[in-house]
Every structure is written in structure tokens, then in C-alpha cells.
């Protein structure tokens, strides 16, 4: 007993209080763990703080503290007049703001630009909020109706005919081209060694041309009758409405199920008629503003929106072509995509500006802006094709096979089952492409179009505002605009991505 008691140890006094553990929560703890937890980290924190100190402080000082806020010309922004080292020269931006936004668009007509921008915003915003309904109608309005309306709003001018006249004109052009080609081959056959063969081919082509001529003859006759009448636009419009609605009715299933298609078609044409009447397109429309007068943010937005709207269908067509099993179509799509992806955009713009006019008939001049738009659409289309292809590859084979088992044709499988899923998958990638497209629109200033950057550069050469800080002020302003647009789009793409991957989040 005793030896146990003597060997046992019972503590009688309390152990001293240990110091509290190092705090790892709250602001202090956060600072300790994330900024000052080791000598290296302390050094890095000091380095980071120094970096921020030497970039943020001078920028804020330049943009706000040392800035000049009002004045009439450069005199206000000179150090000797202001009495301190002048930072940003904001009166210069105020004076140049109309030029930076509208370019040389006539002052009296600028309400049209504002209206087009408001329309775009009203149509685009509900499209971006996933919770709002009627995405199909909204998308249709934004991608098809809005570009046409915006064109007549911004460019002005009216129409002389409608669907029928345009179809007739196009077919006539096509027919002329075929007959011309046939005659060229016939001429060749007089001198060539393979004379009989060429003679046969030439006559065949001419025969096809003549046949087409007789086929389209009633159409052309009708067109001439309509153009001869007093109300050419409305007569043409009525005929087009009747024909298209009838076709929609028949294709929609005739008497059995075609009524819905008929109603939709008539409603669409009614809307078109209202637009034509509102804008007075049937008698000249708004005064024409040549695109050479457009400039600034307007051109930037026009080029990027047109690029977005036109590149997506091109991209989808090319992506489907690249996945097709038909050899020629696949080879063509691959070559087309790889070609445009392999060359820089600036050479594409040079191509569109200098080479494209050579490829078109001599009497056919294309506006400078439209040429750049064609180049950008082809270029961006190739990039979008690769994005869409990624989405198509992500759709399991079973989806297509299930659709085939239900008896759907290739077109229906693609447009109803595969494409909607594929496009939803790649929305973030598409938006990222749109960001780079938006940034790339600045390149049009190299081919003599005055977009935001081009207008900015032009405004630097104004002697009225040339001060040491003019260039920095201009770049700060344009940079903020570009940043807001691109950063907004990239945040939106992140938002969509997170929403799409909601099921994968843990």
C-alpha cells in the first residue's frame, strides 16, 4: 500500500495558463495567415504593396486629384496656366465626346443612333437574363429583325420593291452569269484542241441558261408590272405575303395543321408592314447617311454586333460540315476553317479591302464598312465553327441515335435534338469569342474606318487640344469603355458557365 502511495504522483497545484493559440480567424488572423506567416511572405507582401503603391496612387492622382475638369481649349490643361502639374485633361474628352461616340454622323440625325442603341439594349437585356420567358421570339427579333431595322435607321434610304422584285433580280443575275459562262466556253471551243467536247458543254450550259430564263420569265414580267404601277412597294408586299403565307400553309400541313403556320406568317408580315409604314420606307425613308460619316463607338458596336450575328450561322454551318461524312463537304469545311484560323485578322481586312473588290463585277461597288464586315464575318465564323464543334462533340452519340430511332430525319435530328444541346454547352466559349471579336474590331481603324480607337487617334492630331497629357487622357477614357464592355461580357460568361455547371458543383 505504502509503496504504491509513495510512487504515485498526484498534482496539487494548477498548471500555469498557456498562452491563447494564435488567432486564425477575423481580420487580424486573416492578415497573419495570408500575408505575414513567414519571412518570405512578409517580403512578398511588401513587394506587392510597393507595386500597388507605385501604380494605383499615380493613376488615381492622374485621373482625379491632378485633373483639370473644365476649360475651353488646351490653355486650361497647361501646367503654367493651371498652376500645378496637370493630370488628366477632361475638357478635351468633353469636347471630343460626340466625335468619339458618333464620328462625323450629322448632328441633326444623331437621335437615330441613340434610338438604335436603345432598341439594341431593350432587345438584348431580356435575352441575357435566363429567367425571362419567350427566348425564341426575343432571339428572333434581336438576330433577324433588329439588324434590318438598325440598317434603315442608321443608314437611311428606302426600298423600291419587296421579296418578289429581289428574287426576280437575283435570278436574273444568276441566269446572266450562267449564259455568260456558256458563251465563254463556246468561244473557247473555236480555238481549243478539245473543240467538240467544249462545244457540247458550252451549248449545254447555254441551254440550262435559256431554260432558267424561260422559267423565271413570268416572275420578271410580274416584277415589271409591279414596278410600273404607282404603289410598287405595297403591291409587291401583298404578292410576297400571299405567296410566302401560302407556302407556309401548305408546308405546315395544309388544311389539317397549317393554320398555325399561316397565322405566324401573316403576323410576321403585318409586323414588317408596320415597320415599313412607320419608317416611311415606301417613299424614300430617312435621309441617307453614308457610312464614311459613321465613326467612334457607333462603328465599334456596329462591327461587333454584325460580326456576332453573322458569324454564328457561318460557324454552325462550318461545324456541321466538318463533322459531315460527305467527303467533299468535310474537306471544304476543314480547309476553310484552317485557312481563316491560320492568318492574322489584319491580313483578312487587307484581303477584304483590296482583293474583294477585284473579285466582284466592275460595276458593283461595295461600301468600305461592308467589306470590313465581310472579312470579319468570315474570320470570326471560322473560330465560332471550332467552338460549336466542341459542343457537338460533347453530345453523346445516343442522343442522335435515339432521334434516328424515333424516325427523325438528319435535319430534324440536328436542329431539334443535337444543336440546341450543343449550343447550350458552348455559350461560355461563344461569349469569349465575342469578347475577342469586340477587341478585334479596333483593327478596322487600320483600313481607314474610324471606330472608337481610330476616332481617338484622329482627335490627338487636333492642335486645339494638344497638351502633354492629352494622349494619356484619351487612352484612359477609351480604355475604361473597352474595359467595361469586355469585363462585363467575361463576367456574364462566368455566370452562365456556373449556371450550366450547377449540377457539378459540390
Amino acid at each position: 500500500m505504502t509503496d504504491i502511495a509513495s510512487s504515485s504522483f498526484v498534482r496539487h497545484d494548477l498548471v500555469n495558463e498557456r498562452p491563447a493559440p494564435v488567432k486564425t480567424t477575423g481580420f487580424i488572423g486573416w492578415v497573419r495567415t495570408r500575408l505575414f506567416n513567414s519571412p518570405t511572405n512578409i517580403l512578398l507582401t511588401i513587394l506587392g504593396a510597393l507595386l500597388l503603391w507605385f501604380t494605383i496612387v499615380p493613376s488615381v492622382k492622374f485621373l482625379m486629384v491632378d485633373a483639370v475638369w473644365s476649360g475651353q481649349d488646351r490653355a486650361a490643361c497647361l501646367t503654367e496656366n493651371a498652376g500645378f502639374a496637370v493630370g488628366a485633361c477632361w475638357p478635351y474628352i468633353q469636347a471630343k465626346l460626340p466625335q468619339l461616340i458618333y464620328g462625323f454622323y450629322p448632328e441633326a440625325e444623331r437621335w437615330r443612333v441613340n434610338l438604335a442603341l436603345v432598341l439594341a439594349a431593350v432587345l438584348l437585356l431580356p435575352l441575357l437574363v435566363p429567367r425571362l420567358p419567350a427566348k425564341g421570339l426575343n432571339a428572333g427579333l434581336f438576330f433577324f429583325a433588329f439588324p434590318v431595322v438598325a440598317f434603315f435607321l442608321l443608314h437611311g434610304g428606302g426600298i423600291k420593291g419587296f421579296g418578289l422584285s429581289w428574287t426576280a433580280g437575283l435570278l436574273e443575275l444568276f441566269d446572266d452569269s450562267i449564259t455568260g459562262a456558256g458563251n465563254v466556253v463556246l468561244n473557247l471551243s473555236k480555238t481549243s484542241a478539245m473543240a467538240p467536247l467544249l462545244w457540247i458543254i458550252g451549248n449545254l450550259i447555254v441551254l440550262v441558261g435559256t431554260a432558267i430564263h424561260w422559267l423565271v420569265f413570268p416572275l420578271i414580267w410580274l416584277r415589271d408590272q409591279i414596278q410600273g404601277s404607282g404603289q410598287s412597294v405595297w403591291a409587291d408586299f401583298a404578292v410576297t405575303t400571299a405567296v410566302v403565307s401560302l407556302i407556309a400553309f401548305v408546308l405546315g400541313g395544309g388544311l389539317r395543321t397549317g393554320w398555325r403556320a399561316l397565322a405566324a406568317s401573316i403576323a410576321t408580315f403585318l409586323a414588317i408592314a408596320i415597320v415599313i409604314k412607320l419608317m416611311g420606307l415606301d417613299h424614300g425613308g430617312l435621309p441617307v447617311v453614308q457610312t464614311s460619316l459613321w465613326g467612334g463607338l457607333l462603328v465599334t458596336l456596329v462591327v461587333s454586333v454584325t460580326g456576332i450575328v453573322t458569324s454564328l450561322p457561318i460557324g454552325i454551318a462550318l461545324a456541321l460540315g466538318r463533322r459531315s461524312t460527305i467527303p467533299l463537304i468535310r474537306i471544304f469545311s476543314i480547309a476553310f476553317i484552317e485557312f481563316w484560323r491560320g492568318v492574322p485578322l489584319i491580313t483578312v481586312l487587307f484581303f477584304a479591302t483590296y482583293m474583294l473588290p477585284l473579285f466582284l463585277p466592275g460595276n458593283f461597288t461595295v461600301d468600305g464598312l461592308v467589306r470590313a464586315l465581310i472579312g470579319i464575318a468570315l474570320f470570326t465564323g471560322a473560330y465560332q465553327a471550332e467552338n460549336v464543334r466542341g459542343g457537338l462533340a460533347a453530345i453523346p452519340r445516343g442522343q442522335g441515335e435515339a432521334a434516328a430511332a424515333l424516325g427523325l430525319s438528319w435535319w430534324k435530328t440536328t436542329s431539334l435534338i443535337v444543336l440546341p444541346q450543343a449550343l447550350r454547352h458552348v455559350i461560355p466559349n461563344l461569349v469569349n469569342s465575342f469578347i475577342s471579336l469586340f477587341k478585334d474590331t479596333s483593327l478596322v481603324s487600320i483600313v481607314a474606318l474610324f471606330d472608337l480607337l481610330g476616332s481617338l487617334r484622329a482627335s490627338f492630331s487636333d492642335p486645339k487640344w494638344s497638351t502633354p497629357s492629352t494622349a494619356f487622357t484619351g487612352f484612359a477614357f477609351a480604355g475604361i469603355i473597352y474595359f467595361i464592355f469586355c469585363f462585363g461580357m467575361s463576367r456574364y460568361s462566368l455566370f452562365v458557365e456556373r449556371r450550366l455547371n450547377a449540377h457539378r458543383r459540390n
Binding site: R34, T45, E338, F350, P357, S442, G479
Partner: protein
Amino acid sequence: MSTEARKPPAQIALKIRRILGGKAGWNGVAVQFAFAAILGWIGYEIVSNARANLENQHIAAGFGFLRNNAGFDVNQTLISYTGSDTFLRVFVVGLLNTLVVSVVGIFFATVIGFIVALCRLSPNWLLSRVGEIYVEIIRNLPLLFQILFWYLAVLAALPNPRQSISVLGIAFISNRGLVIPRPIGESGFEPFLAMLALGIVVSLGLRFYARRALFERGQVIRIWPSVLALLFGLPLATMLVFGLPFTFELPQLKGFNFAGGSRIIPEFVALTVALSTYTAAFIAEIVRAGILSVHKGQMEAGSSLGLSRGATLRLIVVPQAMRVIVPPLTNQYLNLTKNSSLAVAIGYPDLVSVFAGTSLSQTGQAIEIIAMTMGVYLLISLVTSAVMSVYGWRVSRSLGA
């Protein structure tokens, strides 16, 4: 009576149909014919219109113009060039300028990109925020904007040569560009070069031998002292024997400009700075994604095997990250090369600027010149993608083995 298996029906017709028309069969063949007809028609229209238009403008098609005298000067040439040289030489001069700005830009973009990526991955909160701000700002501004910013705002704001900013008294920055010392070859230059090359070759051979020894016999050979001696000791010894390989000619301010030294034109500086900082932001994201793609468990497994942190990074993490990083990184290098064509905006004499710009406006040979320019970039990107597919094939093979 034995029943023999029936022969499968002849599939030759089916196979032909499949080859000619894909899954769509004869419909596919018909579609192809229609498509070919449309393509032929478009091609015919283009050729006939181009011929008529060229005739109207009195331009002779063909590449004969390449032998004509260019008659304009280029302000940065790597090979000798005067105004009386041919357009072909202009093409080569422009191409070399493009390649030079691309290579220099790629070097700096890689360095800056890796630094920014390390910043973003740093556990230090402030430093990772600094990296993030850099990436967000640079990525969301157009490249052309940045090039013009450096050229029109920053470089134009620099003082003139007389008040130029001196870097250690050997290089000078002014609004006329950057002046740096020029190396001049001396008598010891050739032996120095030869010894340097020998050192590099022998070091590579040593490394190869050491790896063979490690993999086949498990024998660890320490090679770094000998490599160090080969790479630095050998050239130094040569220098002692044969004298200095080259000396530097320092720039001197004379009158209103610098004499001596070599001048790097401001356009080159602006373009390189803009291209490398811009591409660096994308490279940083690629590197960061690559390193994050290696699972945390790999690092833990490495340390549980007793490897040091450095050895784990070098042997386990980096090789796996590289597999993710290299393909998009090459893509960024290619983008940088293509983006160098924006030089035309500030007048740096690259391929697009001197050939598709000046030469085109002088000769009017739009089709030939633009085709040649596009062809160069297309060739570069096709070669790169071919190399990358070989790399991808090797990686997938090494993964499979």
C-alpha cells in the same frame, strides 16, 4: 453433309457508296455534285471578274513585279537593303523583321507570363490579387489599344536624346528609341564561339549518358560540376588564351543624337512591350490552369515517398503540368506571331507593313501580295500545328506505355 458457313454478301458496292457519299449514300454524291457546281460557278465568277477588273486598271497579273526596284527605304533591316533593291528583298526584310519581333516577344511573354502565374498561385493574398488585377486589365483591353498606348502615349512622352534616361550609363532611353552598346567582334571571337558550341554539345552528350546510366543500371552520376566547367570554364579559358572575343562600343551623345552603339527603334520597343505584356496575361492563365490541373495528391504522394519539395515539383508536378500547358502555350506563341502584324498601325516595318502596305500601294498587285502574305502566316501556323500533333502523339504514346 456438312453445312458450311455462308459467305457474307459482297460489300464492294456498299463500300464504294460509303466512300463516295458518306453515310448519306447516293444522296451524298448528289449533294457533292451540286456543291462542286456552286463552287465552280463562284470560282468562275471570281476569275472572270478579276481578269476584267485587272484589265481595266492596266495591271499585269503575275509575280514578275517581284524583280522590280522597290524604291523606298525601310528603317530597320537585318540584312543589307537599299531603296534600289527588289520587292523580293523587301519581302525577305519584312519577314525577318516579323520573325525578330516575334521571337523577342515570345521570350519576354514567357518570362512575364510565368512570373505572373507564380504570383497568382502564391499563397500570399496581396501578391495573388496583384497578379489577378494585371491579368484582368490586360486581357480586357484590345491589343491595338495597348500598342498605340505604348507608342503614342508612353514612348512619345519620353524626353529627347539630350535629356535621355540613362541605364547604368551604358544604355539610353529617349523618344528616338533605345540605344544599347554594340558588340564588336575581336580576334578571339571564332575560338570562343567554337569552344562554346563544343561545351554545349559535350554537356548534352553527358546528360544523355547520365540518363542512360540511371535508367539502365540505376547508377547515379552527378554531372552538374562538369557541365558548369564545360559551359563557363572552357569559354573563359579560351578567352584567357586568345584574348577577349568582343568588346562593346558605348553610345555617346553627340549634338542632338547618339553616335555609336546600336539603336532599337521606338516602334520595335512599343510593339515588343505591348505584345509581350498582352500575351503574358494569357500565358499566365494557361500556366496557372496547368499547375492547378495536377492533383494535390500527387504532391502528397511525392513527399510520402521521401522526395524533397523541389524534387517533387521537378520530377512529378512539372512534367504532368507541362503536358497540359504546352499545347495552349504554343497556340499563344502562334497568336503572338500573328498579332505582330499589328505593327502596321505604328509603322514598324514588318511583313504586313512593308509588303502588304507600302509595296501593295506602290504596285497595285493586290492579289499576289496578299496571297503571299497570307501564305507566310498560313505556313507558320500549319507547321506549328503539325509539330504540335507530333508532340500530342508522343505524349499519348508515353502515357499509353
